[in-house]
Symmetry: C2
Subunit: 726 residues, 2 copies
């Protein structure tokens, strides 16, 4: 991994400041999401979408269109939509925000606006509602298909479809299912959003059929959350399948809009099976999906007939001794219905492969030749160039860069300057990308890029409101992992007014689990606001992405298999050794903080290295993997029955007696992810073992604190370190 990060690189945020006079401190309200000044302080980005190949800028009360010469012109104001609603007899107060407007049809001046109360198809040229549907009861989401002229939605765990090619309410909506209940759920995301699943309905391209999930969770026990926001507290039971216990069963239905009948995919026995990556064939006649076994070590890509539900063939299979994790559906080539792109880590890294249905085989790895880098996103295609536009870590392990890859030979062309973290949206014909990016010293830029040439023009450049504040130095560097060979990246934030002759307390902020990384090549190396705040108070902040974290390939991640926590801690301790080697770090005043998996790591580190850490704050921690859910937990830990040692060794209740430093645990009282039983079991174990963690909880909060609670949380955490580490 011979990257430019192998040496310590220092990029100070202060470089953008012109004057150091009259510097003022940040408040947590400036720095923490949910804070009163947070939005104003942050570098603004630009919400946008495409209307065919025309770029649209989205604001809550206005849509603008980018005209030639890169000049913005107002397309419509929200007041116009409200007037149109009033004219149609609707309540203008229910008008959706324009910030989420969509423009599905490049040939019409129609935008789709929706919220829980209505779905509007608004013609901004005629300034009137072309169609609309209002919902008698608020639905949590809608899945609209322009081709179908209909919107699917879920209410009371049943699935409905309302026509949108008329003007009226949803009184005459089709009710696709009738037995929806707490136990049976239709048309919602399943498998707890693992395996890349984020929704439960999938329209066919021609709009004639709707594919949907049905989840039978009657065999899954309720976890008894409690809602105190009533005169008398009320039970708030949630279905929560814990590792090793009965899991829900999922079926996939295909509703035919003409016959009004549902056929079910013939998946076979759906006990202990996962279904993901649902993809329609371009001709709307086939359904593809991955069927993964509960052990998550064997995935089959299967083709079904959409009209009969019949299973036609297994396209391919993938096995792995640890786990396979299909997270993406198929992407058919726009110019060739026979070929699709699929994702696989079979090479050890996320790559894209081209598959031919006629040939019945993978034709080539489109993204080979970039060892050690991974594909992160598939933005779409430029059919004129027969290229696919993707985002990868190829340029450098901390970066996300955009590339155009020729499908015919895999030749890749960079589309950005090879710096920073880019994310883009492709225009309809793939000729342009709107690229929102950042790099260690660039807070935010939004560029319009020509995919054929890579030529770009900056539409927005934003530094936020940091000017006039005292900003600490943020550095990035590498360390060797505990295996002695893997490079790991860290971020360090030094105290404001740093004095190398002083000794500072230091806090490790940690996550450590899969699917996340904390250090990247975005502004300030991906700093979090709290780090800036603590640097103001005189702490050295240190963040290291150890093995087990994301974007570094399969082996980097799966080294933790069946022993979550163990290798991750070894790597964090390499970071601690480094910290202790620094002359300006007071090795007797080390703290640690993390949330969720990072709360688990924090607690585990406090118990495993009681002489090292003086104070820690664990948020929403996993304490015992047998209390975590089956989909995520069993992927990495197998089951308590098949991996008793792993569950035992990493069950923190069993080591509660080791606690020596000060450990604050904070959890959301209504956390449906790491249910309160984790923290409560640990408290019970500590009381029994005679050790003394501290505690806080936010009633009404879920896995993360939202809104101003988040500011309160970081006040609380800060106070804890000030009490016990300063």
């Amino acid at each position: 991994m011979k990257t430019k990060y192998s040496l310590l690189i220092v990029i100070s945020l202060a470089t953008m400041l012109t004057s150091m006079a009259q510097l003022k401190p940040f408040t947590l309200d400036d720095l923490i999401p949910g804070g009163k000044n947070y939005r104003a302080m942050q570098p603004a980005t630009m919400a946008n979408t495409w209307w065919g190949n025309r770029l649209i800028r989205l604001e809550s009360t206005k849509c603008s269109i980018l005209n030639p010469g890169n000049r913005w012109a107002t397309l419509t104001e929200q007041q116009d939509v409200k007037d149109a609603m009033s004219a149609a007899g609707l309540n203008a107060k229910d008008c959706p925000s324009l910030a989420t407007a969509r423009f599905p049809d490049a040939s019409h001046s129609e935008m789709v606006l929706q919220n829980a109360k209505c779905l509007l198809i608004y013609d901004w040229k005629l300034k009137r509602l072309a169609h609309y549907v209002t919902f008698k009861t608020e639905a949590s989401w809608h899945d609209y298909s322009a081709a179908a002229g209909a919107v699917a939605y879920n209410r009371g765990n049943n699935l409905y479809i309302a026509k949108t090619n008329h003007a009226g309410n949803d009184e005459e909506a089709l009710q696709v299912s009738t037995d929806g209940s707490h136990d049976i759920v239709y048309g919602q995301s399943v498998h707890r959003n693992e395996f890349g699943i984020s929704k439960g309905t999938f329209w066919s391209p021609d709009g004639k059929r709707l594919c949907f999930y049905r989840m039978d969770q009657s065999m899954v026990p309720d976890y008894p959350l409690v809602d105190i926001g009533h005169r008398i507290a009320e039970p708030q039971p949630i279905k929560y399948p814990m590792a090793g216990t009965a899991s829900h069963k999922v079926s996939i239905g295909i509703f035919n809009m003409r016959s009004k009948e549902t056929v079910w995919l013939e998946t076979g026995d759906n006990t202990n099976q996962y279904y993901c990556g649902i993809t329609w064939s371009p001709d709307s006649r086939k359904i593809y999906l991955y069927n993964l076994n509960r052990d998550q070590n064997h995935a089959r890509l299967i083709q079904f007939d959409a009209s009969t539900g019949r299973q036609e063939k297994v396209i391919m299979e993938e096995r792995h001794a640890k786990y396979v994790e299909p997270q993406h559906g198929l992407t058919f080539l726009p110019w060739d219905d026979d070929k699709f792109i699929y994702w696989s880590q079979q090479s050890g890294y996320d790559n894209l492969y081209l598959y031919s249905l006629k040939q019945g085989r993978a034709i080539r790895n489109l993204t080979s030749g970039h060892k050690g880098g991974v594909v992160l996103d598939l933005l779409g295609f430029n059919p004129a160039q027969r290229s696919v536009i993707i985002s990868t870590t190829w340029a450098a392990p901390l970066q996300h860069n955009l590339f155009s890859v020729r499908v015919d030979d895999g030749q890749a062309t960079p589309l950005d300057g090879g710096q920073g973290v880019h994310s883009g949206k492709l225009s309809a014909d793939g000729s342009q990308i709107i690229d929102s990016w950042t790099s260690p010293d660039v807070p935010r830029k939004v560029d319009l890029v020509q995919t054929a040439t890579g030529k770009r023009v900056t539409l927005l450049e934003n530094y936020g409101q940091w000017k006039g504040h005292a900003i600490p130095e943020i550095t990035c560097g590498t360390l060797k992992a505990a295996d002695g060979k893997t490079n790991l990246f860290y971020r360090m934030v030094k105290p404001v007014n740093f004095d190398a002759n002083k000794k500072y307390p230091a806090i490790v902020y940690v996550y450590g689990g899969p699917h996340t990384r904390l250090v990247n090549a975005s502004w300030g190396y991906g700093y979090r606001g709290w780090e800036i705040y603590m640097a103001q108070l005189g702490y050295v902040m240190f963040i290291l992405d150890g093995r087990g974290s994301s974007e570094r390939g399969l082996e980097f991640e799966n080294v933790t298999f069946r022993q979550l926590g163990t290798e991750e801690m070894r790597d964090q301790m390499r970071g601690v050794e480094f910290l202790k080697s620094l002359p300006y770090v007071d090795g007797t005043r080390l703290g640690v903080h993390g949330w969720s998996f990072g709360g688990f790591m924090t607690t585990d580190l406090m118990l495993t290295y009681p002489e090292v850490f003086k104070a820690g704050v664990a948020g929403g921690p996993v304490i015992d993997w047998s209390l975590y859910e089956v989909m995520y937990g069993e992927r990495y830990m197998d089951t308590p029955q098949t991996n008793p040692e792993g569950y035992h060794d990493n069950n923190l209740c069993l080591r509660a007696g080791n606690l020596k430093g000060r450990l604050l645990i904070v959890f959301g009282y209504n956390d449906p992810v790491c249910v309160p039983q984790h923290t409560l079991s640990f408290l019970r174990a500590c009381a029994d073992a005679g050790t003394h963690p501290d505690l806080f909880t936010y009633p009404g909060a879920e896995h993360n604190m939202a809104g101003h609670d988040r500011v309160h949380l970081y006040e609380h955490i800060t106070r804890y370190f000030e009490d016990h580490l300063k």
Copy 2:
């Protein structure tokens, strides 16, 4: 109140020590109930009971009898009982402890032993089981009647009666009720143990009928407690009627042992009615009870015919503008079935009155002439002397002393030395009392007293294992209440190795609510072990019983009516002023701690006097009286509907923003008394208001921490003060 406590009295526990050499500190395990050494350290008392007029000493594995010459002789060993069980084919492992043996019949050598598995009638002379019944399912309690030859018990919320005059199991038990459920409960205590109620079955003296409660709580919502002691946490719903909401309805049945039929007392509509003080007439033909309205300001003593359930007459009524609180049933004179003694506070203090049924009126106040003192207990009678034996505060407000009162003229004779706190049990003919007592410098004595003469002999004298420890000075004194006239008593514990020239932090320990007092004339003025511990650590501990607390009469208590917390805090602040006036108290380092009502007071004091208290620990606090239950809460606060100002003014959520000092709240996660919604609502309010209490909870614990959790609790509390007050 011209008492000997009007001057500061100093009694050091150290006076009992002969040497100050090699003093060692106490541990919390020495001082806190549930601690590993607690029992060994405490002055032992002596469990005992009467077999007619013979005193029996009870230990878990042995019963002894006091022979002439005051020599103990072994009556039976538990092994004998086990052998008898084995001989009868029972499992000796199920043998009950002998510590709770009863000796109902002075004419037979039979003791009654029972636990959840069996009830044994064991003949210690014949060394065999005379009768027994074993229970196929464990029952939580049994109510045995020797006269009935039967035991009543509750299982699955239904009421059963098993015969005990045979040898066998309870297969053929009578099932008195069949619709017992979570909603309908038979034979258990009702009205949440208020109004002196502690059980739900009442045998007639002749054993031919069983009176029992039936409680319909179907209209009472469940409070959703959660039990985490399972593989997956489980709901643990409890019926909890909150102030101002629907309350349960109670009926009283009389089961006839011969006809096997139940008649119901004709109480009229039982909506919003309380029934207490259930008393059988000596001839078993009548039932008396108090019927109190929900507003608790009107009690009626009513007579029912036990065979028909018909209401015969209202014996008397009592009203009060604030509340009346009947807590005692009637006590008929053993020598005159026409007359009973009843309790009343109508004079402003608890007095006993003699009532004649024939005359239909109260004949006299038996305990008048002792202004300012209250009757605490009625032990029984000495029929030969026509006297009633009672316990009172007549000798001094901090004391409990025993008196013999002549029923014919009310003349009282003291039965103890006029010191300390006494409690006694009367022998069958009332000629002897076994008196277990303590005074500020007497840890424990157990004396046998002749009620005719007051002559006493000491059977046990015990100092515990305090010798060799460093013991702080404990003092007692009086202060004026905030009303400027009422004397209040305090206890103060000074730091070990006290140095009057130093400045010490001070902690107020507070309860403050009705039905409790903390300062009395028992050993060390009723010190709590934690006070000794904190004195070791260098804290001044201060405890003041303000107005609103018990044993000082009605007006002293009910001054708090409809504004619980307000007057109580004013009195506590008088204590704080006194503390701050002491040269050796550091007025900038004041703390406060209390549990339950004391947790409410602690939180209230922290919010109301944020500049005064630097740190506090509130345990199981009431936060909002509308979340407390109807029986206790509405007595003092009326309902949220009728007293909105009182509920508003004393709702601590509404003042969460005032918090400035450090406040730790601790609660039992399964607290069925002050349900977790109190603390959780407060946390929510603090998060919203931007203030920062601290938190701890004990999963599985109820309103108070039991067993070793209690030691852990006081370690935790101590640490908090050491962190933030030292």
